[in-house]
């Protein structure tokens, strides 16, 4: 009964939404602000990948927020699944299980640097080719995931993660504030823009994207590590 009602409700919503969407012509040029972006990205910023210039520069504030969201997610998961340090070694059965087979271990060892390299490539060339900080960061995080899964006792040094996280985050926000200090706007480019399609082009965009890459990689690795190292026994009560 409830399901039928829900289906009816959704049918109504679907009808209205479809009614709207099919009125928007598909595949037609209706750009307004984007034209400016497509014009300014290669000409003013000397950045080949317009998406990157939008993400990092024109709408860099969004990206700062986005990085914050990831940071928040990592903090949130840490807070929700918080463990005391002392019992950290008492890992769950999954982590206490025997290691993966030798073949997997060795291939993981070989794959890991390649994956990290790929990730680094992706975020270093974010302003030239598709991809960038997020994608590269996620790729690196999957590399660490490989190790975490393969070597059950492998654990990432939280201290170094914290450092990377903090430095990368501060680089991003700090570059923004540096612009302010130099008398420009927040996140405004204050470096020479270089030649388009060179690695060193786009001024601060490249630097920021590298910082984002490190940040994302460390956040996601942290998240994965937290989630993989959950202890099973029941939680201790805290009262307010």
């Amino acid at each position: 009964m409830k399901k039928i009602i829900i289906i009816l409700l959704l049918a109504v919503i679907g009808y209205f939404l479809a009614d709207i969407f099919f009125e928007i012509p598909f595949g037609e040029d209706s750009m307004v602000v984007s034209k400016e972006y497509l014009d300014k990205s290669p000409n003013d910023l000397h950045v080949a990948n317009t998406v990157t210039s939008i993400v990092v520069n024109f709408r860099g504030f969004d990206t700062l927020g986005e990085v914050t969201v990831l940071f928040l997610a990592s903090t949130a998961i840490g807070s929700i699944l918080f463990r005391r340090r002392k019992v950290h070694t008492k890992l769950n059965p999954q982590r206490n299980a025997p290691h993966a087979s030798r073949i997997v271990q060795i291939s993981a060892k070989i794959l890991f640097p390649l994956i990290v390299l790929l990730g680094a490539y992706v975020f270093i060339h974010g302003h030239l080719t598709p991809g960038g900080g997020f994608q590269g960061g996620v790729i690196i995080a999957t590399g660490y995931l490989l190790l975490l899964v393969t070597y059950r006792k492998f654990s990432v040094s939280h201290s170094s993660l914290t450092w990377i996280e903090a430095i990368a985050g501060v680089t991003f926000a700090g570059i923004g504030v540096l612009g302010l200090i130099l008398g420009k706007d927040f996140l405004e480019n204050f470096l020479p823009v270089g030649t388009i399609n060179n690695l060193f082009s786009g001024g601060i965009i490249g630097i920021i994207y590298v910082a984002v890459g490190f940040k994302v990689a460390s956040e996601l690795t942290g998240i994965l590590d937290t989630m993989l190292s959950i202890k099973v026994d029941s939680e201790e009560n805290e009262q307010n």
Partner: protein
């Protein structure tokens, strides 16, 4: 196949697929009792919205908004041979995907804690707070 027809079919497939994803996802959120299923449904809805957004920015026969050397000839002046698709929805969807990931991850962490607390993942049985 004519250009018009292709556009028609593409629009129906993209819009239709994204709408279907949204509605199916919402249906899942509303009816599935399992917490993890609910979160899976939410990711489906998110995917639907993202697909919709990107397909709205598409321009027929456009290219990706990346200026490649072939077009550039190494000059500062930009030559445009083909129209480029709208880069803004892509940038926004990038953000939206990451936000969706964050929400899903937090949700799953909550699921783990709820499971430890209630020893169930059925949403109907987790009702300590009501009225």
């Amino acid at each position: 196949m004519s250009e018009e027809l292709m556009q028609q079919i593409l629009s129906i497939s993209f819009y239709g697929a994204s709408l279907a994803l949204i509605l199916i996802g919402v249906y899942g959120v509303l009816t599935k009792k399992n917490l993890i299923k609910i979160l899976l449904s939410l990711t489906i809805v998110d995917s639907g919205v993202n697909l919709l957004f990107v397909s709205l920015g598409y321009i027929m026969n456009g290219t990706a908004p990346i200026f490649s050397p072939a077009i550039m000839d190494g000059k500062i002046e930009v030559l445009k041979t083909a129209p480029m698709v709208d880069p803004v929805p892509q940038a926004l969807v990038l953000t939206a995907i990451v936000i969706g990931l964050g929400v899903t991850a937090v949700g799953l962490a909550l699921v783990i804690r709820l499971f430890r607390h209630h020893n169930t993942t059925n949403i109907d049985e987790i009702r300590n707070l009501k009225w």
